[in-house]
Amino acid sequence: MLLELKNIFKWVNSGSQRIFLLKDINLSVEEGEFISVMGPSGSGKSTLLNVIGMLDQFDEGEYYFFDESVHKLKERHRSNLYKEYIGFVFQAYHLLDDLTVYENLEMPLLYKKYKGAERKAMVADMLDRFNIVGKKDLFPAQLSGGQQQLVGVARALISKPKLILADEPTGNLNSKQGEEIMDLFKQLNEEGVTIIQVTHSEKNAAYGSRIINLLDGRMVK
């Protein structure tokens, strides 16, 4: 088992009212799964993804990641945990505009204390694998959306995570570019990487091995 959510609640207080963002979520994810999270806008898809990714807190419930109880961990441990095992892919790519492709890829490694030579090898390997060696000295603004997202995926993968969390990774792309990214995800999944993606598209959801539907913060079967 990679991770398990037990009775997760998340809410915000608005005046005297309590608005639930996540309501009693129970989910277990095995290693090697490819899960698509679907649901209308505001149903809590991204929130769920952020909770799983430990970027966001929850108010109630238990969260186990590789048998570690995340809900009991201190901030520092949690951050170590996700640094080690989780990679993010964003809808808006979120590359740093002032860094080149090469430097953007190198950045996650900097926070993990890899040695210079190691970093170089890992970045080179990634550039090679995604076929973007020729673009390594370009800035994000000089790339197309699809290429930027390719770099985004490469950046998420570079530290060899067990789990990739993708929040509408194809949302800003045209259909051809989107298809390429989805193919890439499928391939990665086949290599053993667990993937959880949020998507609006039935077609993209179909790439996954399992679909979770959310409505008003609840999982619907």
């Binding site: 990714g53 970027l55 951050s79 964003f90 979120h94 590359l95 002032d98 860094l99 926070y111 993990k112």
Partner: protein, 792 residues
């Protein structure tokens, strides 16, 4: 990672050049101010501290009652003090007496004539003080009455670098002391640069005693400075208590006088005394300018903070991404801090260049010879200042920008909080308050200086030449004066003791008919003046007459000023016979009060005496517009009397100006500092206004589309900042008023503060701020709304 951050920083800098430029200019100027002031302050603090026994080196002073409950502090002592201290006080390890020759003396050797200032000092001088003795023995150099110790500069001027001056002779003449003898050189000393006293030769104190009238070697005759080396671990407080009555028990004339020992190296910075207590001095200006320089730097730091946080939206994306990728807050804080520290060190580089360029100019203003030497201590201080500046200015942005969670940032859910806006506004208000404070300061100092220049002093200081009486003139003053009065361009001529700007001589213990117990100890200033002195100086005679050329008859006469007559309580002063500086003097005249010191002091009771032996300066009033003729003919006449000597004259109004040299310096410096503070504040405001205009681009466009005019938009945009400036004025003016009142309180004669100064300063701030913000606002208001709305 560090390399990465630096790269990121440099690329951002390239993109946002204007922000970088504003920060660089601000921080460089702020740092340059701090560096200049640091050089100045460390020079001031080091003054006179080179003496080996600095900690134990004390000067003997006297607190003398001048009015009931009021003490004046004098630094001169009787020559009897020296032996009394040496023989009777075990705490005094060593003591030396120093008499300072009040005029330049004439020195002659190897057919060269040089005027130089000198002192007469007793045997242990070189053991009490640590002026380096290059040749000679510090134990014996000042023992023989016929010897002289000279400075290295003087030795070089007379004999050149090569020749050893030891054993050579120098003829020394001093008009006032009536010295005219040949002395053998027994030593060569050097005066370090950080010595406050400058003199070129030292005669033995025995010589001083030799030339004194035996009557004047008494406890009531105070002319020498006495310095002592106290035994180690002497409790100075207890010692002062023990010594207070040391003099008063010895002589009836000096009743109530208290002896006070003060640290020698304190004299320079804390030389002011009020009612017998040390009350500061130059240290006030040292502190003031240190604070002002730090303020200027802090204004620049605030610019950095404000611009960094105002443009936070740009940085937040980076923070969010990095956090999502695995950066923790500490590493981001370190990143932001290293950016500001980097900028700070870059600014330091610029500041050092600026300082190197400005140093000659700064030296002229401060009257110093500061050098910017790369010494370990200086480098360390520079490093620390730059590091601190970087950390301070980076602290707020670093803590502020890194506190947001990745999710919020990446979703763009950041709203500028009320507190944060308040902080930014508060910082702007702080900047402008400081600037307004400085503007008021500049105004008040300027007006007070102007007032002092133009105040009616009770005498006419214009077109009055003053020059010393040299050897050829000493016995023929009257002849010289008679001839001088005939010269073209000369209105009148007379002579006097000392100068108009400082009647240093004071004495007490006088008596007159109707004297009360209270008025017994009043001290009177006095000076010896020549016939027609009152006419020459344009002093108003209230009653009686002036001195005529009828010596020795004049020696039994006296002229008083109004204040003296008033404190003495004389109803009909003319013809009254009093005992003052000699028995049975008849009051022949009373003059209206005139200022004899700087305007810090009230006019004191004063007596004008007339005895030619005591005079030192000739005073010649010349016609306005005929200065050239007058000077030329006077020089010719002077050379007839004193052949071979240079005609070394000064104008009285210049001498008067010199009284306020430190105020002039403060005035000039404060002008530049104020300009600096305003400039940096405005740069910051400019940056903020530009940012605000950019942030509100959409809002402006919508407003314009809905029908607001360009001028309305301009007013709206400028108003946001003008509000802050108004608040700054309200904050600053009370402080400004307090500070101005405080500064002016030290002057006995001062301008009265009126609202104009403060309103004026406020207006200046408003106008400058309007110009800064207005251009940005107009620019923003004039943009075509279509472009902004299309971007959405």
């Amino acid at each position: 990672m560090f390399k990465h951050n630096i790269l990121l920083y440099l690329r951002k800098t390239q993109k946002h050049k204007s922000t970088f430029f504003i920060n660089l200019v601000g921080l460089s100027s702020g740092l340059a101010c701090v560096l200049l002031v640091y050089l100045w302050v460390s020079d001031e603090l080091a003054m006179d501290t080179f003496h080996e026994h600095d900690e134990r080196l004390y000067q003997v002073r006297r607190n003398v009652p001048v009015a009931p409950g009021e003490l004046a502090t004098f630094s001169t002592n009787s020559s009897l003090m020296l032996t009394a201290l040496q023989e009777e006080v075990p705490e005094v390890e060593l003591a030396t007496a120093v008499y300072e020759l009040s005029n330049m003396s004439r020195l002659e050797a190897e057919d060269k004539k040089i005027s130089a200032p000198g002192v007469m000092a007793s045997q242990d001088f070189f053991k009490v003080f640590s002026y380096p003795l290059l040749s000679g023995d510090k134990n014996t150099a000042l023992t023989d009455v016929n010897t002289v110790v000279i400075s290295r500069e003087l030795a070089t001027s007379f004999f050149g670098e090569e020749i050893d001056p030891m054993g050579k002779t120098i003829a020394i003449k001093d008009g006032e002391e009536e010295i005219d003898e040949v002395f053998t050189i027994s030593g060569v000393f050097e005066i370090p640069q950080n010595a406050s006293r400058q003199f070129d030769f030292i005669l033995p104190y025995k010589t001083f005693l030799k030339y004194r009238d035996p009557d004047d070697i008494a406890w009531y005759s105070n002319s020498s400075n006495v310095y002592v080396l106290l035994a180690p671990k002497t409790d100075i407080k207890a010692f002062n208590e023990k010594m207070a009555g040391f003099v008063s028990k010895r002589h009836k004339y000096v009743k109530g006088e208290q002896v006070l020992f003060t640290k020698y190296s304190d004299n320079y910075l804390r030389g002011n005394y009020e009612n017998g207590k040390q009350v500061g001095g130059r240290i006030n200006y040292v502190m003031l300018f240190s604070i002002v320089a730090l303020f200027v730097l802090s204004i620049a730091c605030i610019n950095f903070m404000n611009l960094s946080t105002a443009r936070a939206t740009r940085r937040l994306k980076e923070v969010g991404i990095k956090k999502a990728i695995g950066a923790n807050r500490e590493s981001l804080i370190i990143q932001f801090l290293s950016e500001s520290v980097l900028l700070s060190f870059f600014s330091l580089g610029c500041a050092v260049l600026v300082v190197l360029l400005l140093l000659p100019w700064f030296n002229t203003i401060t009257g110093k010879e500061l050098t910017f030497a790369i010494e370990p201590q200086v480098v360390l201080v520079l490093f620390l200042i730059a590091l601190l500046t970087g950390l301070v200015s980076g602290s707020y942005p670093a803590l502020y920008l890194t506190k947001f969670s990745a999710v919020k940032v990446l979703k763009g859910k950041i709203n500028t909080s009320f507190g944060e806006l308040l902080a930014r506004k508060g910082l702007v208000i702080f900047q402008f308050s400081i600037s307004i404070l400085l503007i008021v300061a500049v105004g008040v100092i300027y007006m007070q200086l102007d007032y002092m220049q133009s105040k009616n002093l009770g005498y006419d200081k214009d077109n009055v030449m003053i020059f010393g009486i040299q050897d050829g003139l000493i016995d023929k003053v009257d002849v010289f004066l008679e001839q001088a009065k005939q010269l073209p361009g000369v209105v009148n001529a007379t002579y006097m003791q000392g100068g108009m700007t400082n009647f240093n001589n004071a004495s007490g213990g006088h008596s007159w008919p109707g004297q009360t117990e209270e008025s017994k100890y009043i001290t009177f200033r006095h000076a010896h003046v020549g016939p027609e002195f009152i006419e020459t100086m344009g002093i108003e005679l209230k009653e009686g007459r002036t001195y005529l050329n009828e010596k020795p008859n004049n020696e039994s006469k006296i002229i008083l000023n109004e204040t003296a007559v008033e404190v003495m309580g004389l109803e009909n002063p003319i013809g009254t016979v009093i005992d003052m500086r000699g028995p049975n003097r008849e009051i022949i005249g009373v003059v209206k009060d005139f200022n004899i010191q700087s305007l810090y002091n009230e006019i004191a009771p004063m007596a004008l005496l007339c005895r030619t032996e005591w005079i030192s300066n000739l005073v010649v009033k010349i016609k306005a517009g005929e200065e050239k003729t007058a000077i030329a003919s006077l020089e010719k006449l002077y050379n007839e009397f004193s052949p071979g000597l240079t005609f070394d004259f000064r104008f009285l109004d210049n001498q008067y100006q010199e009284l306020y040299r430190s105020e002039q310096r403060v005035s000039t410096l404060s002008k530049y500092f104020a300009a600096m503070a305003i400039l940096i504040s405005c740069l910051g405001l400019f940056g903020l206004a530009a940012f605000s205009a950019e942030r509100r681009r959409k809002e402006i466009s919508i407003r314009k589309v809905l029908g607001q005019t360009v001028s309305q938009v301009t007013v709206m945009l400028s108003g946001e900042f003008m509000k802050l400036v108004f608040i700054s004025i309200l904050v600053a003016l009370p402080f400004a008023y307090l500070l101005a009142t405080n500064w002016l309180s030290q002057f006995a004669y001062k301008i009265s503060l009126h609202a104009g100064y403060f309103i004026g300063a406020g207006l200046v701030a408003i106008v400058i701020a309007l110009l800064t913000v207005g251009s940005q606002a107009i620019n923003a208001a004039n943009k075509n709304p279509v472009h902004a709305l299309k971007d959405e």
